[in-house]
Symmetry: C2
Subunit: 357 residues, 2 copies
């Protein structure tokens, strides 16, 4: 190869790297980049079960998803909640039956909870309680649907679970959910030491767990001994980097601009969305208990999850972050037979064993 070609190539490469690392401030704006199209193959590094599930899923449709729940009024929300509650509640009851957990509905100072008792309780957990908070964007997932993941955790960790059917909008926006968790937690503390209580959930449930612990600390209550933050909705504002990088890639959330943004507005109901009791990532994490995080490479809440993890680590708190290959938001909770799901719940059990007394 002649020297001209080499020199040209080398210059070209140097220009490329020079531009990258030593760019002058010619473009020091905040406008961002328009990222082009790309081919996204089925993730070869995921389990066969996850790959099959992705292959069976239509590609996420960003345009259509952006139309979800726009200009929805209170009656619309209530109707949609009722419709979803029916199908998801039925599925959750079926799951509880399959897992042979007992479900008992109770009221604790006007807050509805469901006690979920597995067939076998680990002797280590005979006096322990997992305080479970369901997901559903702070709007959905209440009623019998709140049994779903709670039953999985009761069964896999062999622990008693109390799932809080906290109040939700449109009738009861923020701070009703946080208040209901505080009510149940205060009640629990009368008979169970904080050292034997874990708290957590997935998505809004993970976010609410983090917000609730902020609230417990501000009230001077002892903190639970472990948090399960499954892909927590830790920032209701449109901030997390992965909201953008994974738009149209996350097959569950798809885009912030449809139902997520609408639900955030409905829940915050005019309060500052950066209030740590709404978006817990903005809080101070000193004094937090050990926390177990789960997310995926395709999860739009990868950033919400990893930003809170970083805050805990810089505060010196024990925190475990796990990122699953090719997984969209909360995929482990939908695809229970996948190895990924089994890992999530068996490692949650190990985490509880390590941190509950």
């Amino acid at each position: 190869m002649n020297n001209n070609i080499i020199t040209t190539r080398v210059n070209y490469v140097l220009i490329g790297f020079g531009a990258l690392f030593f760019a002058a401030l010619v473009d020091a704006t905040e406008k961002g980049w328009e990222v082009g199209t790309r081919m996204l193959p089925n993730p070869a590094g995921s389990s066969e079960e996850l790959r099959k599930s992705i292959a069976a899923t239509p590609q996420p449709d960003v345009k259509r998803s952006k139309m979800f729940l726009q200009n929805t009024d209170a009656t619309d929300w209530e109707n949609l909640k009722a419709l979803r509650a029916a199908s998801r509640g039925k599925a959750a009851l079926q799951l509880a039956e399959n897992l042979k957990v007992a479900v008992e509905r109770q009221d604790i100072n006007d807050v509805t909870v469901r006690r979920i008792t597995p067939q076998e309780i680990d002797p280590k957990f005979k006096d322990a309680v997992f305080l479970y908070l369901h997901g559903g964007a702070y709007v959905f997932g209440g009623g019998d649907a709140s049994i779903g993941e709670a039953a999985i955790i009761a069964n896999s960790a062999k622990i008693s679970v109390i799932s809080v059917d906290y109040r939700m909008p449109p009738t009861s926006p923020f701070p009703a959910a946080v208040d209901d968790v505080v009510t149940v937690y205060r009640h629990l503390l009368k008979t169970v030491p904080a050292q034997a209580i874990a708290i957590g959930g997935t998505s809004a449930g993970g976010g609410l767990a983090l917000s609730a612990v902020h609230k417990f600390i501000s009230l001077g209550l002892p903190t639970p001994s472990a948090i399960y933050a499954g892909t927590p909705w830790a920032d209701l504002t449109k901030t997390g980097d992965s909201l953008f990088t994974n738009e149209g890639i996350d097959r569950v959330l798809v885009t912030y601009d449809g139902s997520l943004g609408a639900a955030a507005q409905l829940y915050a109901a005019g309060h500052d969305m950066k209030d740590p009791l709404i978006s817990p990532v903005y809080g101070d994490f000193v004094g937090f208990p050990p926390t177990y995080f789960v997310t995926g490479t395709r999860d739009m809440f990868l950033s919400d999850t990893s930003r809170v993890h970083r805050k805990l680590r810089t505060a010196g708190i024990v925190a475990e972050l796990n990122v699953y290959e090719g997984m969209s938001h909360a995929g482990y909770a939908f695809n229970l037979r996948s190895p990924e799901s089994k890992q999530v719940y068996s490692e949650l059990r190990n985490f509880l064993v390590a941190h509950l007394e």
Copy 2:
């Protein structure tokens, strides 16, 4: 709002969710999705320093980057290596001077190493050694450039570092690099117990550290007591999900199809790229020491990093995964004044304190 509109909306939403969760196997192929364009703002959740750095960077140019190092012959590679070595070597020497570390070049059984000694050594580390392996896609980063991150670690962790100037292609492809690390490690073990040795590096250096530990185990050598796997190139094949999700988003790597893929071919030199000594993610991680991982939401090696982390965790190994908001591949090593970079190295120090004896 009238009932027709509600019903239509609700049906629409149900169709959407039904399609998502209960799709029939109409599209059960592996062809993947073409993901459309999206706006990617400067990440508001990153530090001001990182945001400024991103704002000052031209948008990654995928088309141009795909042309890097295609059809490059041995002479081209050598010329390019020499050019880069000159500029990066000079920068690394300057960094060592700024950090006031002493650098001493030595040969260990024909392998060149540089001993990097900080001004102050932590009493806990008086007999300890950090075996550092430089990055540079298994082609670049040798010579004086191999001092760079090694000097940062020596200074921030207050530990003696030996940086291995391992042989590289085009003259010495795989397994020369692994063999050189083994040579140095065997020599070290004569005077330093494995309990006082850590190994690691960034990018190819992180991947090589993981491969080397696979090799140590197969040779029956004791393992080092801690690994630093900074965004490790753990899979040289085009497999990791984030190679695709973050193409054109990672401002350092940009795309696999340019220099990365070319370097992978050059290094593997016809060997099976799924050999765990080339792509360590494919190995068995039983017996591995505690490992500290770093990556970012924009890192094309997010998947390489998190896949190895998952393998370690399922093998029951202590492993810490950290994902930095808005960070591209190895951004912490380029932007030393950013809070992200300070966190990476101060937590690496804490990790070494916890796991070295």
